[in-house]
Symmetry: C2
Subunit: 201 residues, 2 copies
């Protein structure tokens, strides 16, 4: 019997997937969590064979949680299940030790199949996405550039960002300018979009 942990913040999605997996003869959902920081505790409690993790979760990113889980419960495989097939996400997932990366676009049947393949020792990755991740190259942004961009996502002004990060305004503008340059965009807003698109934030 395959014991599954399910981490997904959308209640309806979580419930539907749990129900669906429980229908499989050889699978059983032994834990369900809605927040990223509940993953490791729940896993230590329930000892699943595989963890299905969404990326964008409240509390802690599924990618960070995957790395935590790798340390806390190495026997547990990780399969990332996400809405967004962003190159940077895939890359980070692999670095965090995930065994598979599935986008929620595909048919549901893929899910159980992917679980079985992962448990059989395979790596499950969308081939098109893998190509995109390779062609996109690694994240070109430095830590500080990411900080500044993430602080700029919801329309904060330069002085807002400077205040939040305890930086000079001129410095903030320099980082923004660098990020704009590296993303090949024309302004802050496009840079934020491009960085998010690639999973660089």
């Amino acid at each position: 019997m395959i014991k599954v942990l399910l981490a997904e913040d959308q209640g309806m999605m979580r419930g539907a997937l749990a129900l669906l997996l429980d229908l499989e003869e050889d699978m059983q959902v032994v834990a369900q969590v809605a927040a990223g920081d509940r993953i490791v505790p729940a896993a230590l409690e329930a000892r699943p064979d595989i963890a299905l993790l969404d990326i964008e979760l409240p509390g802690r990113s599924g990618l960070d949680a995957a790395a935590d889980l790798r340390d806390a419960l190495p026997s547990c495989k990780v399969l990332i299940v996400t809405t967004f097939g962003r190159p940077g996400y895939l890359r980070r997932a692999m670095e965090a030790g995930a065994s598979g990366f599935l986008v929620k676009d595909g048919p549901v049947e893929d899910l159980a199949a992917a679980i079985r393949r992962v448990l059989a020792g395979e790596r499950v990755i969308d081939p098109g996405l893998a190509a995109a991740a390779l062609s996109a190259g690694p994240n070109p942004l430095t830590q500080r550039e990411r900080d500044v961009l993430t602080a700029a996502v919801d329309g904060a002004t330069v002085s807002d960002i400077a205040g939040k990060l305890h930086l000079s305004q001129a410095t903030v503008r320099n980082y923004l300018s660098a990020a704009i340059g590296k993303t090949g965009t024309r302004n802050r807003m496009e840079a934020v979009r491009a960085a998010r698109q690639n999973g660089w934030l």
Copy 2:
């Protein structure tokens, strides 16, 4: 037997919900579509009793499709099922003649229950959301202000927007300024966020 049409772009979600609803004794998913402009044709073909519509769909918004469906197949009830419980969405859904508005956050059990309540003639609406929709008031933005804001979402410059909408640059800036004023924000980016948050776009 309740015949259900399911419109949802995310394959995994769509499949899982379909499977789940088919498990109900008295329900049957008679049509599944992934794009908004497929809703009416599929409904005319399959003659469902109720249509479950996501809002943010490729092709045509679920809200617009709800209005179309109202004309094309008045016997079919509409239940909006969406990720985003935005006040403006709820308001528009009601204006489009929807009988219910469900957010995907809640437990799956709510879904079948909501379907039955809608078919029994009830209106199904999250009470907290209804309150938010009322307190937020109606959309204060004019058509043109919406156009300009939507054209500005992904970082387009003033001249980009002016070109796309065939307007003078000064005019675009006036509309943007008006939108910023009405949303009580400080710049274009915040205005876009606020307008989206409220479902005004």
